[in-house]
């Protein structure tokens, strides 16, 4: 069979085709446009999931096109890690797209939003399904640049400013990655992801490339101090786009970190050179600052965005500890945080959609008006704080175990402190919504407004599904995601060179 028609490749290419198809039909029928957008994410989800049997059997699927774009070539690869992350991305993308078909009704320029959303999906999937750094980079740029259109969708002055910041940092990040990749190519003559890594020397160029990788992925993942674009860009985007950006796109940065540490440089080299200490340092600062600043934000979406910064710190910490259990935690947190943050953004978006209230202080009494939405928000928040048996707990638990394996109590304390801070910034929201006085901030005429109705099903169902996953993933007899994360971490650590 020709390489082009393998599911691994198709999963990344199908959304591209869909983006083109949407562009062509959208002028004639908005129904077809919305339908195709939903179908694009569903189709790629199905294509990714179709690997399930082979992946569980321990197989690694490789598809190579060495003659495309020489001298580096294009290749695709599906192993435990990429299967898991691709499934998460396409699955949640599907739910968010369903949600957006209703949410975007009130917005302008929908004909621009949908094709670019699907294009971003193509990029994100390509990133995680790529088999080498070069392919990774190509899709990474596609994703980052298409996402720009989602960020500036509102076209307000604020959005344009945030978008410009995002764009310039994206380009800087892209150039840093580009440099890192050609440097690796120069050192080793290949850029393919190889179990156990292949960079042998730790010379100056290798260090430069590692720093460049750190800058490139750090900008994408929002590692402090490279996060500056994130709290600006995520809140100004339409809410479903925020959910995609915060819940999924950041993860490609974390995914990149995992790939370079384990499949490019290899654990031994990183441990020998102590480069992970650099990551650890920034991870600690990120966790602490992200959570601390989130407390001070009144705009709900900005609060969520800063929370994302802190949460990405967990993932980077889990990777940088270089312990198997910590890595399991990090990989699982990719899943957990994707679920939690997208449900939070969708819920916040739903409230903004109905009431236009972006400020936390205005949400008093919201629990009575939009009960289901607030329940979703509450579940996700509790999970963020890390209360068992919700998904947020598992990742923290594993990362904590990992840091104990590394013999360092400090990180456990940091995790606890961060959980406490999460509690501090999520709890008042919930408390205000359910038990606050709805009349506290209302003007006289607003009081006469009828109670806000609940949402159309297209918005409600995705949120409920996400909340359901948060609750039930660990309650089911088999936690498949955790199993996959364990397998992935095991494969990354104990690769036969």
């Amino acid at each position: 069979m020709h390489g082009l028609f393998q599911a691994a490749v198709l999963a990344a290419l199908v959304p591209l085709m869909f983006a083109l198809a949407i562009y062509l039909v959208e002028k004639h029928s908005w129904k077809l446009r919305n339908g195709l957008s939903v179908l694009a994410s569903l189709a790629s989800f199905v294509l990714v999931i179709s690997h399930y049997k082979r992946i569980m059997a321990g197989e690694t699927i490789l598809v190579k096109f060495p003659n495309l774009l020489p001298p580096l070539g294009i290749s695709f690869r599906v192993d435990y890690l990429s299967f898991l992350v691709a499934a998460i991305i396409s699955g949640i993308w599907f739910l968010v797209t369903v949600y957006s078909t209703e949410y975007m009704v009130k917005e302008h320029a929908k004909n621009r939003y949908y094709p670019f959303s699907v294009l971003t999906l193509a990029g994100a999937l390509g990133v995680v399904l790529s088999g080498d750094l070069f392919t990774f980079f190509l899709f990474f740029e596609l994703m980052s640049l298409s996402a720009y259109v989602l960020v500036v969708h509102e076209e307000t002055e604020q959005a344009m400013r945030a978008g410009y910041k995002y764009l310039i940092l994206t380009i800087i990040g892209g150039l840093a990655l580009f440099f890192a990749i050609i440097a690796v190519y120069e050192i080793a003559g290949t850029v393919a992801f190889t179990p156990g890594g292949f960079v042998q020397e730790s010379g100056r160029l290798a260090l430069f490339s590692f720093i460049a990788f750190f800058i490139g992925f750090g900008i994408k993942a929002g590692v402090v101090p490279l996060h500056v674009w994130l709290p600006e860009a995520h809140p100004v985007a339409p809410s479903p786009a925020s959910a995609l950006l915060s819940g999924l796109m950041l993860k490609t940065g974390a995914y990149g970190f995992i790939r370079i540490v384990f499949n490019i440089y290899g654990v031994e080299l990183i441990r020998e050179t102590g480069w992970n200490n650099m990551m650890l340092l920034f991870a600690v600062v990120t966790i602490f600052l992200g959570s601390a600043v989130a407390i001070t934000q009144d705009d709900i979406k900005r609060r969520l965005a800063y929370s994302s910064v802190g949460q990405m710190g967990y993932i980077v910490l889990g990777i940088a500890l270089l312990q198997e259990r910590a890595l399991i935690g990090a990989i699982f947190h990719i899943f957990a945080h994707a679920l939690m943050k997208s449900s939070l953004f969708l819920a916040a978006g739903a409230i903004i959609y109905r009431t236009g209230k972006r400020k936390v202080s205005e949400w008093h009494g919201m629990g009575k008006q939009m009960f289901v939405t607030m329940i979703v928000f509450t579940i996700a928040s509790i999970s963020m704080v890390g209360i068992p048996p919700l998904v947020g707990f598992i990742s923290k638990w594993e990362i904590a175990l990992g840091s104990l394996d590394a013999g360092n109590w400090g990180y456990v304390l940091l995790l606890l402190l961060s959980s406490l801070m999460n509690f501090i910034y999520y709890f008042p929201v919930i408390q205000g919504a359910f038990f606050g006085d709805p009349h506290l901030h209302h003007d006289a005429h607003e009081d006469k407004e009828p109670r806000h109705r609940e949402l159309p099903w297209a918005m409600l169902v995705p949120m409920v599904v996400l909340a359901g996953l948060i609750v039930f993933v660990d309650l089911l007899p088999r936690n498949i995601v955790l199993e996959l994360a364990e397998q992935a971490a095991h494969a990354l650590f104990f690769a036969i060179k």
Binding site: L69, F137, L138, I182
Partner: protein, 488 residues
Amino acid sequence: MVNITHTPVLIVVLLLSGAFVVALLSKYLQVGRFIFLLTAAMVLLLSTRLTFMVLEYGTIHYTLGGWAPPFGIEIVVDAFAAFSSLVIAGVSAVIFWFAVFGPREVNNETGYYSLLLLLTAAMHGMVLTGDLFNLFVFVEISSLAAIAIIAVKGTGESIEASFRYLVLSALGSGVVLFSIALIFMISGHLNMSYIHDALVITAGQYPLNIVLAVGFMLVGFAVKAALFPLHVWLPDAHSNAPTASSALLSGLVVKVYIIAFMRIVYLALGIPIFEILPIRQIFLVLASIAIIMGSVFAMVQDNIKRMLAYSTIAQVGYIFLGVGLFNQRAVEGAVFHILNHAIMKSLLFLSAGVIIHQSGHKKISELSGLGRRIPFTFAAFSIGALSMVGIPGTAGFISKLYLALGALDAGQTLFAILILISSLLNAIYYFPIIIAAYFGKDSPLDARDPAWATQLPLVVLSLGVLFFGLFPSIAIPLVRQTAQLFIK
């Protein structure tokens, strides 16, 4: 039936006679246009055939009038010449189409077409010839024609710009001739390969001659190719010319001088001079300055065509950088960039010309919101701009990739970083235009996309940018052979 071996000379002859015939047809405009385009199409065919011949049989030697070298003029079609000829033929054909079907900017149409053909003939001649003096003649023809296609617009600024270009160009030609004389003095030949053989023996005895010759040659061609400190004529000339001329000048003419220079330095003078003069280091330094300063100047321009012109100065630096790094990948990158920049800069100039014509504005600050009014043309402009920044999937990325890899191969990390900084600078001045056009406040203008015939060249060039960005493999055999010519 034309003998297959006459193809190289036929290209030049066809263009010259085309220029002659078209100039006479001012009364029969339609016929003139038809012959004009027909000539371009035939040249493209011949050039393609030539390329395939070179790929199949290797370098072709053709002696004019049957006079054998060293006395007769020899045409040497190696991979580089075939490649350059194909680029010139392809891009100029597209630009010619635009000149015919695009906005009217000149009064004497057939005269303009004649000049365009003459210029193209000279460019083909420059890359194909193996004789130094013959090359000089073509340099002069191309200079004259290039100046003329600026002045043909007939406005005060364009004539003033073209006169300034003429003065500097004449200076450049003067020193090039001086340099040729100096080379002739110590080698006794004008045929490039004979010069090379002679210089291997005699160069060491006359270091002063070599230093002067190379120095003059560098100055002369640097003026014509607008290498940084000698670029002063370019922004005015390229921004005041008619659109088709700007595209041709920025996309091809500037580069053809570089090609000619590369041929002289590497093929005719060759190894002996590298031992006497640190010419590669000079290239690297000048190229670095050009790359940074060109972008810095481009950033502060408000006139869109001037901005594109300054951007060309920076891009010329890329090519010199690749040549100066002098390893397989870097030279491949430079050669790729000759092709890629020809396509993307013509695309940018043509679409900018259409935008200016349709909207009546030429200032970047006035283009806000026009992306919605003239979506098609702006899409073409955006593709060109993305390519200039070097976004993956566009042709510009490929040149960036090869040049950066070449810089690392040469152990010069600094230059790899320089290329990346330049990409960032490009992004800083190209992206705001696109952003303002698509997301800026709505334009009150009632501008629309032009007719399909005007858009066709934009489509072809946009597809070219994407095609060579995604499938550069198709050009690899030629590019690789070219690089091997240099890195013997």
